[in-house]
């Protein structure tokens, strides 16, 4: 039987049924709306279990785990896993460090800092699909301002996204430019919401700044960091816009991330089954990662609540 109780407060009397149903009434519409959209999910699962290429209709049949089995020995698949994971680790790692540093810089509530925080949000407001067009121009060896600037410091042959050795660097740079503000603003909010007492006490005791940061600031900021990283992780591993606009996964297969591969398989090669299988693997990875994060997040929050 479903019992609805207000958190932290024991129920003294039995509430009327209407009230027990209340939380369900409040949350179900959201759930229904989303589930409605996810009906296609089941279709996609079915596709992933078939040999299904639209341009070879006579070959279509159920092969169950066949698509997944070919992945095991398919170097293209493992390359995609590798590229997606390294893209995710690089972008989220750099964005977290940079976002945290900037949030610390802008921590004090001053007029300049508030204005700077909004200004830093600007890259987030430019759609990545359009931002990539601009970056493509800015990194053009002839007309591009960035190529010109790095040329001034002696890197006249820097080839940005078009060279295998710098392609990952370039798309990571763009991702960092676009999404660091997202992490920054969440962490800034966290920093400004931290209680004062522990810091004041530490200052009175003359505790060194590094100790304060690692033993007080960072642990207290953890729920924010986890949330920011969770959302970024989900987006980064599902990266599409920037990579597709910059190189379509090239040069070679250097930037072939999951969604670009799946997009090509689906929309250009009409390989419906294989595309769906790629996406299912991606879904599994994100599902596992976010499960880990959310469990940790809930535990941390419980602990923080218990501590105060």
């Amino acid at each position: 039987m479903a019992t609805a109780t207000l958190k932290g407060r024991p129920t003294l009397t039995r509430r009327p049924a209407r009230h027990r149903l209340l939380p369900y009434l409040l949350s179900l519409p959201a759930l229904l709306v989303c589930i409605g959209i996810l009906v296609p999910f089941a279709t996609a699962v079915a596709y992933s279990l078939q040999r299904y290429n639209s341009s070879l209709p006579y070959l279509r049949k159920w092969i169950w785990w066949g698509n997944y089995q070919t992945f095991l020995t398919d170097s293209a698949f493992w390359n995609t896993v590798y590229v997606s994971l390294s893209y995710t680790i690089w972008t989220v790692g750099i964005e977290l460090l940079l976002g945290l540093a900037i949030a610390l810089l802008l921590q004090r509530t001053t007029r300049f800092n508030n204005a700077a925080a909004i200004a830093c949000l600007l890259p987030l407001m430019i759609a990545p699909a359009l931002a990539a067009l601009m970056w493509k121009l800015m990194t053009n060896p002839d007309f591009g301002i960035l190529s010109y600037l790095v040329g001034l410091i002696g890197l006249s042959d820097f080839r940005w996204a078009s060279s295998p050795s710098t392609a990952m660097f370039t798309v990571v740079l763009i991702d960092v430019w676009v999404y660091t503000p997202f992490i920054m603003i969440l962490l800034l909010a966290g920093l400004r919401a931290l209680p004062r007492q522990p810091f004041e006490a530490a200052e009175l005791d003359g505790v060194p700044a590094s100790f304060v940061f690692f033993r007080i600031t960072l642990p207290m900021l953890m729920p924010y960091i986890l949330t920011a990283v969770l959302f970024r992780l989900l987006d980064a591993i599902q990266q599409f816009d920037i990579v597709y606009a910059m190189t379509q996964g090239g040069p070679g297969d250097r930037l072939m991330v999951f969604q670009v591969q799946a997009y090509l398989e689906r929309f250009q090669y009409l390989n419906v089954g294989r595309s769906a299988a790629f996406l299912m693997v991606l879904w599994l990875i994100t599902f596992i990662l976010s499960n880990l994060f959310i469990k940790n997040w809930l535990r941390l929050r419980e602990r923080a609540r218990g501590a105060v």
Binding site: S54, S55, P57, P141, P164, T247, G249, Q268
Partner: protein, 479 residues
């Protein structure tokens, strides 16, 4: 409103006045050449209506999906005439080319009835046809009930007709036995050299006669101290990198993409001829191609040529044509040259890209849609497009013989007609038709990228590609 002008136009159509008199008269009335052209086309369309019931589908509405392209612009500019001729209405969606085909694929693969007819390339029909998404247009063209007698299907260049028809059997020749006409050509492009005369003169070079010479000249331009690079070609990770200059040269060297035997395909990119040509190509890109080559689509290739950043391009002739006008910095400096890459060969073998119109097999109004397609690919609209808009290259003999069109091109695009005359006899699709075209050709491009980046030598790269392609063909039951 233009009653007087209309009278004048009618008298022209009846053969009473000459074209020059007609346009002179239009100028007196204060009408521009385009308006007069439109009115003229209107009158001719009326004349054409006499022997065929164009009004059969009066009141119907046709929905089109068009690519953002001068060819689509020409259709849109002439659309009023179609509406007047047929009493039908036309609605259209225009999408930029970057996403155009993905949009079609999404619509067709979900069985959408949203679009009745759409623009497509020939390669795409190798997927859409076998998938059952297209109508076989032979059934319409060959039936006088469906097609107006003035349509003159025989006037369409035979190579193009063949290149847009295929039996659907992997590896079977285009236009061969049992071929279905999946699409009707609208206009096409072939691949040749467009060069910047100003830059060439300064570097004291002439257009190359063959590929080894091209490599040399490109390097010479690069080293001529003009702060430009030698030659522009596409390099993005896409099938589109292979099909222009690269495949034209590949075919000229005698290279083949596949060998077909007993209905099975076998990769042949790694033949000796293919390796020789590819090695030259990779050297050329390395030493004098665009530095960001592996991100270059035809937009960047064209933009660089128009802005004077590259000395020449080996790409679609119409790309050079488009860049030689408007507000481009180098407009007026561009010249054209046919190109036969193999020193032992004699004539060019340009691969072609054909923008065509096709019918959605899910469409609930194929009749009205076909009415539109036969109008848009007919002589009247073709003439309008070639004379007044940029419907170049035309697909009909009659239009190539049209004096107004020829005079216009000769005046504004010096050397273009000569280039076309030399290029066109050998121009056709040099790929072997098979449904995995996009998959395998994109892989070819990715492999070329790795060779240019110096990640693997040409010979090894092509061997690896061929092995990989064979493997995929086997998996799909084609190899």
């Amino acid at each position: 409103m233009h009653e007087k002008a209309k009278d004048a136009v009618a008298s022209f159509v009846a053969g009473r006045t000459s074209r020059r008199e007609l346009f002179g008269y239009g100028a007196k009335l204060g009408l521009g050449a385009a308006t007069m052209g439109f009115l003229l086309n209107e009158a001719q369309t009326t004349a054409q209506a006499a022997d065929f019931d164009w009004q059969y589908y009066k009141g119907k509405t046709v929905n089109l999906l068009l690519n953002k392209h001068p060819y689509a612009d020409a259709i849109i500019a002439d659309l009023e005439n179609f509406k007047k001729l047929t009493g039908m209405d036309v609605k259209y969606d225009v999408f930029p080319e970057d996403v155009y085909f993905d949009k079609i694929t999404a619509a067709l693969s979900s069985g959408s009835t949203q679009y009745d007819a759409f623009m497509t390339g020939a390669y795409q029909t190798w997927q859409y046809g076998p998938a059952g998404w297209l109508e076989d247009l032979n059934e319409y063209i060959k039936d006088p009930k469906w097609t107006n007698p003035a349509y003159a299907w025989d006037d369409v260049l035979p190579n193009l007709k063949a290149s847009t028809s295929w039996s659907g059997v992997p590896g079977a020749a285009l236009g061969g036995e049992g071929a279905k006409q999946w699409a009707v050509p609208l206009a096409f492009e072939l691949n040749s050299i467009t060069y910047n005369k100003r830059i060439f003169d300064k570097a004291k070079v002439e257009p190359a006669k063959n590929l080894p010479e091209l490599v040399e000249i490109a390097a010479k331009i690069q080293g001529s101290g003009q702060n430009v690079y030698g030659i522009g070609t596409r390099g993005s990770r896409s099938w589109a990198t292979i099909h222009p200059g690269y495949l034209s040269a590949f075919a000229n060297y005698g290279g083949k993409d596949f060998e077909v035997a007993d209905g099975k395909l076998k990769a042949a990119m790694n033949s000796a001829a293919g390796k020789e040509m590819t090695a030259l190509w990779v050297d050329m890109i390395k030493s004098s191609g665009p530095r960001n080559w592996s991100t270059y689509t035809w937009y960047q290739v064209g933009t660089d040529l128009g802005a004077g950043a590259s000395g020449m391009i080996y790409d679609a002739d119409v790309l050079g044509y488009f860049m030689n006008g408007g507000d481009n910095k180098e407009a007026g400096n561009l010249a054209f040259s046919a190109f036969a890459p193999n020193p032992k060969g004699s004539s060019p073998t340009p691969n072609v890209w054909i923008w065509s119109l096709a019918l959605n097999s899910y469409s609930s109004q194929k009749g009205p849609a076909w009415w539109f397609v036969q109008w848009a690919t007919g002589t009247e609209h073709g003439l309008f497009g070639a004379q007044k808009m940029d419907l170049v290259n035309p697909v009909r003999n009659k239009i190539w013989q049209d004096e107004t069109f020829r005079a216009r091109i000769a005046k504004s695009y010096p050397g273009y007609l000569e280039q076309y005359a030399a290029s066109s006899p050998g121009s056709k699709i040099y790929f072997t038709p098979q449904p995995l075209f996009f998959n395998l050709t994109t892989e070819w491009a990715a492999s070329l990228q790795r060779m240019v980046a110096g990640e693997l030598p040409v010979s090894e790269g092509l061997d690896e590609l061929a092995a990989n392609v064979d493997n995929q063909l086997k998996q799909a039951g084609l190899g």
